[in-house]
């Protein structure tokens, strides 16, 4: 076994940073669930609900993107 302990730390850190994506996953799931329930109850609101759902998903997703950015920063030695 050989290798750099700093490299190992970088990979572990990047992996830990991505834990935050779990929260975003839950958020996206909840918003899609809400939108789908609404659509099933009242199919007329399909278009309106879809655009608002995509917005909500984008907001939740941006949290996961922050985690991804932190992981990239560690992985590619930007800082």
């Amino acid at each position: 076994m050989d290798g750099n302990i700093l490299d190992a730390a970088r990979f572990v850190g990047a992996g830990l940073a991505m834990i935050g994506a779990a929260g975003a996953g839950v958020g996206i799931g909840l918003s899609v669930q809400g939108a789908l329930t609404g659509m099933a109850r009242n199919p007329d609101t399909y278009g309106n609900l879809l655009t608002n759902m995509i917005l909500g998903v984008a907001f939740s997703e941006s949290i996961a993107i922050y985690c991804l950015v932190i992981a990239f920063l560690m992985l590619f030695k930007v800082v």
Partner: protein, 330 residues
């Protein structure tokens, strides 16, 4: 039957291409590319030593892609313009490119009207449509074969790949790695949305446009959202709280730039990494990259939509102001 049965031969092209990719992947083994966050330099030397007093300017590989994107958009605009002009002479029914653009723009305009109201739809729509079509082109152009795979070879400073000469000035890069004297590839084209400069500048444009629309609609009162002193003297405790909330609003306003930038960049960059890893993961034979490309198509369209849509919604929010709270006071 007098109508001849249509033979849908075109759909087989896709299957043939997928099989070709499957076989060619065995002959020319996919190489895991050097994944860098910054765009690669095509020329080692800077093209301008001291560009506008800011520092050296390098010819990076997103600049050719930017040129291609802008030329494509110009061609599309001219084609749509010509098609619409031609339709004006006859019966006002456009065909071909003009028809397609009219359908897309009408859909986008209706979307703007439903979420921003008829009054400000005319002011908001150009920003929304421009950003969306531009980002859509930027995201989809990345999927053309040859992007990020054909380029110039540089001598690697650290670990590099061996190459096989193909004749002329051309060479094929091999997956074997060597410690010294290897080469790394700097592709001619790299998708522009995989460059932080592009997404950051677009986010800044969108941010300033939001502020401008807000000031245009509410005058100087727009900034009372950030420095909220309306109730400061009437009800001191809640007034002070309003002021603090306003300061938080400033932070969230600037977080918009960050989230705009990194949402587009993160999604597109993750796509590049995914394709690279999947292509080199299974080695010789793999049909998976073409599947990932289909997913990339989906992600590119969704991200373009989200970028434009968020700009539009933030603009609509800026025009509306704090109408509800004023009513609550009375």
């Amino acid at each position: 039957m007098d109508t001849q049965k249509r033979t849908p031969w075109r759909r087989w092209i896709v299957l043939v291409l997928m099989i070709a990719g499957f076989i060619l992947g065995g002959i020319y083994v996919p190489v895991q590319p050097e994944i860098t966050v910054a765009a690669e330099k095509l020329l080692e030397e800077p093209i301008a030593e001291n560009f506008l007093g800011l520092g050296p300017l390098y010819l990076v590989n997103t600049i050719p892609t930017l040129a291609v994107t802008i030329v494509l958009l110009l061609v599309l605009a001219f084609a749509a313009n010509r098609s619409l002009k031609k339709s004006q002479k006859t019966d006002l029914v456009p065909t071909g490119v003009g028809n397609a653009m009219e359908a897309i723009l009408e859909m986008l305009y209706n979307l703007t009207e439903t979420s921003a109201g008829t009054k400000w739809a005319k002011a908001i729509f150009p920003w929304f449509a421009t950003i969306m079509i531009y980002v859509l082109f930027a995201n989809l152009l990345k999927l053309i074969p040859g992007f990020e795979s054909i380029g110039v070879l540089h001598h690697a400073h650290g670990e590099g790949h061996t190459i096989a000469e193909l004749g002329g000035n051309w060479a094929n890069i091999l997956p074997e790695k060597v410690e010294e004297g290897g080469y790394i590839l700097a592709p001619f084209f790299r998708g522009i949305s995989v460059d932080l400069n592009f997404t950051l500048s677009l986010a800044l444009i969108s941010f300033f446009a939001i502020q401008v629309i807000g000031v245009r609609s509410q005058g100087i009162g727009y900034f009372s959202k950030f420095f909220n002193t309306k109730r400061m003297f009437k009800v001191p405790f809640f007034g002070a709280m309003d002021f603090l909330v306003g300061l938080l609003e400033i932070i969230s306003e600037f977080a918009k730039i960050l989230s705009f930038t990194f949402r587009l960049f993160g999604n597109m960059f993750a796509g590049v990494v995914l394709v690279a890893v999947v292509a080199s993961l299974l080695g010789k034979i793999s049909i998976l990259p073409s599947m990932i490309f289909m997913f990339e198509l989906f992600v590119g369209v969704i991200q373009a939509f989200v970028f434009g849509m968020l700009t539009m919604v933030f603009m609509a929010m800026a025009t509306q102001g704090h109408g509800d709270e004023e009513h609550a006071d009375h």
